[in-house]
Structures are given as C-alpha cells and as structure tokens.
C-alpha cells in the first residue's frame, strides 16, 4: 500500500434495514483500505454483505437499506457527505463498476462503441470524434482490437467473454482510480475466466488501478488478489496477504471455507462441511456470529464480540489459529 491517501478507504461502515427494529445490521463496522495498484478480494458466501458493500460505495443501495454509520473515501473525497448530484458525477468518473452479467448491464439497442462514447461524453464532454478515438483505444486496451477497427457491434453479437471485456472498457472510460468488479467471471467458462482475470490484473498494474474484486471463489481470490478480506454474516472475520492466506488461514470460518474446496487431483479425503447455515438478519446472536457453527467454539465466544484489531493482526477471533510461518 502506498503511503498517504488510499484509493478507497472505508471505515466503520454499517448498513441496515431502514425500517424495523432490534435486528442485526446487514453489514457491521466494516473497515478496509485499498491502495493504488492494489487488488483486494472480498470473499464470502451469498448473503455475507459483499455486494451490498459495493453498492454502498457507489451510493446505489437498494430501497429499504440505508447506511447507518461509517465513512467512505474515494481518492481523498468523503462520498457520504456529498449530495446525490455530486455523487452521480463521480460514479463512472472516479470509480468504475463491472457486474457479473454484462448482458443485463449493457444496453441491447446500442452498439458497444457508441455506449463507451456516450459514457465518456456525459462525464468528460468533448467532441464526438475525440470520444470515438477514446473508445477505440479502450477496446484495444482490453484486447478487442478487432472491434475497435471494425464496424460497431451490438452486445448480442458478442461472446460472453467479449461482453465482459466491453464492460471493463466501459468502466474504465473515464480513467477512474477505483474499479469494483462484482463476480466478474462467475458466468464465464473456465478458460475465459482466466483471460478476464489476467486482463484485470494487467490493467491493475499498468494503470495503477485499485481493484475491489468480489468473489465467492477463494481459489480465484488467492491466485489473483494482493489481499483477501473474508466476510461472514456482514462482518469482516479475517484480512490478510493473499499468498499466505490459503496456506494458513487463521479464522475458523476461513479455514472451513478452504477445507470445503475439493482439491485437484483428489486426495481421497472427505470434504469438510460447515454445519448449520449463516444467520439471517433477523437472528440476534450474542458474541461471535460464527460461534453457533464454529468447531473450536469456547465459552467466551458466546459473550464477547471479537474485533479485527489494528492493522497487522487482522483476524476477528478470540482464539485464532497460529499465524502463517
């Protein structure tokens, strides 16, 4: 991480239902930073709050859910203090978003080059010609030089991998410092998945882009991200260096996640299962939220809420496993 201002700094973010009472927040006291040129992976199961956090950063929370506390700074600007108008100007310009399904995110009735031109001109203005040149350069940068040179194409004429590349070009149209990629490869075939992740890491390095990579695939996160943050039921449970994470996760939930992945080739052992299921927002749990499912639970886990601690010791567990050697 660079010294000084991080590309994205979130602190104490708490999201909850706007109505109702005495319920658990959906995301609670979440803090993390992403430096320039760095990729942080959010790993967690469905309902853990990964995508909700991304929506909060973009100021696009679904109706009925609101931010109850916390600060979100992108490139040094506090976003939560901005009025909607100012926030809208920053979406797309300071931060780009890539979704899981590009076909629903792209307009079906406009050529892909035209969509990039439109986005660029809305934020940066300038002549149509200049924007068109910019669109061609972007398409080339994401490996679609054939599309950049040839006639414009509609999204339905492209393959899934090409569409996701277009989506990335669109997200980068205005040179944002931050890119949020929400399950960008989940809908893609294995071979294409690798190409898209290679592209994202290349852009991250070449452009000094800060990337928030949201995934449920711990293996992908460990292979491509610089750091991993594991979320469970709306709380961060562990954050660490991606390289050592897979070898020695410290939180019992992280360990359980890793041990549930079938190894290749198979080693003949039975896959570890996590008993029970994650608590819903209605369930109130005293102490650690993972305690009811934890294999190493002790008495104090049901009373004391573990916190992540300062930078360096980033595991929210009262009795964590040994750190990586």
């Amino acid at each position: 991480m660079t010294a000084g201002e991080a590309a994205l700094a979130v602190s104490g973010l708490t999201l909850g239902l706007a109505s109702g009472h005495a319920r658990q927040p959906l995301v609670e006291d979440l803090s993390f930073r992403i430096g320039r040129g760095e990729m942080l992976a959010f790993v967690g199961e469905s309902g853990s709050g990964k995508s909700l956090t991304a929506a909060a950063i973009f100021g696009l929370l679904p109706p009925g859910i609101r931010r109850m506390a916390g600060a979100i700074r992108v490139g040094g600007t506090e976003l939560t203090a901005l009025p909607e108008r100012a926030l809208r100007a920053r979406r797309g310009r300071d931060m780009g978003l890539v979704f899981q399904n590009p076909l629903t995110a792209l307009s079906p009735s406009l050529g892909v080059q035209a969509q990039i031109v439109e986005t660029y001109r809305v934020h940066k203005g300038g002549t149509r010609e200049a924007a068109r040149g910019r669109a061609r350069a972007l398409l080339t940068e994401v490996g679609l030089s054939a599309l950049a040179a040839g006639p414009d194409r509609y999204p339905h004429q492209l393959s899934g991998g090409m569409r996701q590349r277009v989506m990335i070009a669109l997200a980068l149209a205005c040179d944002p410092g931050l890119l949020i990629a929400d399950e960008p490869t989940t809908a893609l075939d294995t071979l294409i998945q690798v190409q898209i992740m290679d592209l994202l890491t290349r852009l991250q390095r070449e452009r000094g882009l800060a990337v928030l990579f949201i995934t449920h695939d711990l293996r992908l996160a460990a292979r491509y991200a610089d750091r991993i943050l594991v979320l469970y039921a709306g709380r961060a449970v562990e954050e660490g260096d991606a390289a050592s994470f897979f070898i020695a996760p410290r939180h019992p939930y992280s360990r359980a996640l890793r041990d549930a992945i079938p190894p290749v080739p198979a080693d003949g052992r039975r896959l570890a299962e996590i008993p029970g299921q994650p608590p819903g927002p209605q369930t109130r749990i005293e102490g650690c939220r993972f305690a009811p499912r934890c294999p190493d639970v002790r008495d104090d886990c049901r009373r004391v809420v573990p916190t992540m601690g300062p930078l360096g010791v980033r595991v929210a567990c009262l009795h964590p496993g040994a750190p990586a050697p």
């Binding site: 071979l191 460990a222 549930a260 079938p262 290749v264 996590i274 299921q277």
Partner: protein, 327 residues
C-alpha cells in the same frame, strides 16, 4: 461385467433452420460419435464448457432428446431403438437432477407433493404408503421433515437441491444424471451436497453421470471422466490419470485454467490463440483453432480416438506425454 450403461457411437443433431415448422436445409450436429461405459455404482464425470453438448448428452441418455444415431445399451437393451411406450418400463430406472432445482419445481406444489409426484406416476402406492415413503426419502437426503409442507420458494438453495434429489430417488432409480448439481451453490453447501451424493452412492450402489464445468468437483466425485468439446469426445479415462497426465491439449488447458492458489499469477496460463476456426465442412480437428500445439495435419484430418492403455482414450494426433503439471 456388472450391468450398467453403455453408449456406442451416439450422435445428436438438430435441424439448423425451421420454416413453417419443417426442418430446412442442413442439420446442426450437437454430439458426434460419443461412446462410454458406466458401470453400476460408478460415477462418470462429463466435463465441458458451455455449448460443448454435455447437457444434451445427459438428455440423450435419458431419451429426453432423440439421438440421430447410435446405441444406448441399458442391461443389454438398446433404449435408442425403443418407442415411448417401450421406454416406459425403463423410465423409473434413470432420473435427472437439474442444475437449478427451483426452475424444475412447480412453485404451487408443496415440497412433499413435489417429492411424491413420481410415486403417483410410477409406483401406484396408497396415499398412506406414499406419505411414509416421502418421509423416508426426505430423511435419506437430510431434509428436515417439517420442510415438506413448505413451498419451493421458502427453501434455501441447498435445501431445494436436497428436495430435488429426494424426488429423483423416489422411483428407486439405478442411474442418476446430475446436470451441474452444485454450480449454483456456495462452497460450504457444495461440499455437503457432494458428500451426500457420495454417501447415497455407497449406500444404494447408484451410478452417476455427473455433468459439470468444474474439474475440482468432478475430481472429487467421479472415478472416470470424459472431456467434451463442441460435441466431440476429446479424452476420457480414469479421473486421476486424466488429471495427473492429461493427454489432450484441451484437457491440459482446462487444468491450467483451474485456479491453484499456490501458482500465483502464472502469466499467460491460457494464452490467447488467434488461429481462425476451421470451416464447418472441413476435416479439421474441432479443437484446431484453440489448440496450443496444433500441427498442419490437424487442419486437414480429424483425429480419431486412440487408446493410451488403462482405458484412457484420447482424440488427438499429437497427445501430450508425461506430467503436464506438478501438483
């Protein structure tokens, strides 16, 4: 040889275009000359990307899609030669579990009714006997009995997949075609369903056709694996041999794309190949355009499956030798 499923030279084609309901012009070949044997109590993994024909293969085996040629031998009876009426006695033997159980369930039927439906159609039990059987099926798949009165939308993804399994087991089948049964599930749920499938197999001697794009899940559950690419068999053999010593460049590419955390950011793990795909009418290998090791011969002559010993088949002129990758 114990009784099982034997597929010989199975092909499926669809009419390329339809006008006024009638097929016009060319046909589109979805599966070409597929053959394999699945023994009782064993699992065969079918691996391929979208469009490889893996779902069609599952459907063709169950005669849900009519094969255009080839034989489907079940207990030495050729199912491909039977008409709908002749097939009826064999239908309960084999069942299908879909990727998305929610889409496959009537949203207005309770889970108990969903599981009971095949019993009404195939087994002719009394209402009382049915209720007992449904409860028994639910407990076999670890589905809480209190959920039987709920509706599909009230269940979680993992619970729905258990209900789908219970329904498939209702007719006491010997073969289950599992079409991406764990793809929509979180890892922790995937592990539980995979373990449940293994337990059921050990208990009942079921055979599985396990269709998946996920080599990791396949390697966990399948003794043998068949790799499909655009409707053609690329390679098949014992899963362990196929993963440790892939002979086909396509299998090797799939394995290289598997995210292995230890190999961080191995650059160009799947280099983009820009060779143009062969013309549809040409004799080229179907994998020619994507192949990292293609030779001139691959453009003019389609390889036929040859054996590497140990039941390991590969359709490639230049199979890879030795370990392509250390684990």
């Amino acid at each position: 040889m114990s009784a099982g499923l034997r597929i010989e030279h199975l092909s499926v084609e669809y009419a390329a275009r339809r006008r006024l309901g009638r097929p016009q012009g060319d046909t589109h070949k979805v599966l070409t000359d597929i053959g394999f044997t699945l023994l009782a109590g064993e699992t065969l993994g079918i691996v391929g990307e979208s469009g490889s024909g893996k779902t069609t293969l599952g459907h063709a085996v169950l005669r849900m899609t009519p094969p255009s040629s080839g034989r489907i031998l079940w207990d030495s009876v050729d199912l491909a030669a039977l008409d709908d009426r002749g097939l009826r006695p064999y239908r309960p033997h084999m069942q299908l579990v879909f990727q998305d159980p929610y889409e496959a369930m009537n949203p207005r039927m309770s889970i108990g009714c969903v599981i009971a439906e095949p019993l009404i159609l195939a087994c002719g039990l009394t209402r009382r006997a049915r209720r007992i059987r449904v409860a028994q099926l639910a407990s076999q798949v670890g589905l809480d009995e209190s959920l039987l009165t709920r509706y599909p939308r009230e269940l979680s993804g993992g619970q729905r997949q258990r209900a789908a399994l219970a329904r498939a087991l209702a007719t006491k089948p010997r073969l289950l075609v599992l079409d991406e049964p764990t793809s929509g599930l979180d890892v922790s749920l995937q592990a539980r369903i995979l373990n449940l499938l293994r337990d059921l197999q050990a208990e009942k001697g079921l055979s599985y056709l396990f269709i998946s794009h996920d080599l990791a899940a396949v390697s966990y559950i399948a003794q043998r694996t068949l790799v499909l690419f655009r409707g053609h068999m690329m390679e098949q053999g014992p899963t362990d041999a196929l993963i440790r010593r892939p002979a086909h460049p396509y299998t090797a590419a799939l394995l290289a794309a598997l995210p292995v955390p230890a190999e961080r950011k191995a650059a160009n793990s799947a280099a983009e190949v820009t060779r143009l795909p062969p013309d549809p009418g040409s004799r080229a290998c179907v994998y020619y355009a994507g192949c990292a090791t293609a030779q001139p011969r691959c453009r003019t002559e389609a390889p036929i499956a040859t054996t590497l010993g140990d039941d390991h088949l590969v359709a490639c002129h230049y199979p890879l030798h030795g370990a392509a990758r250390d684990f």
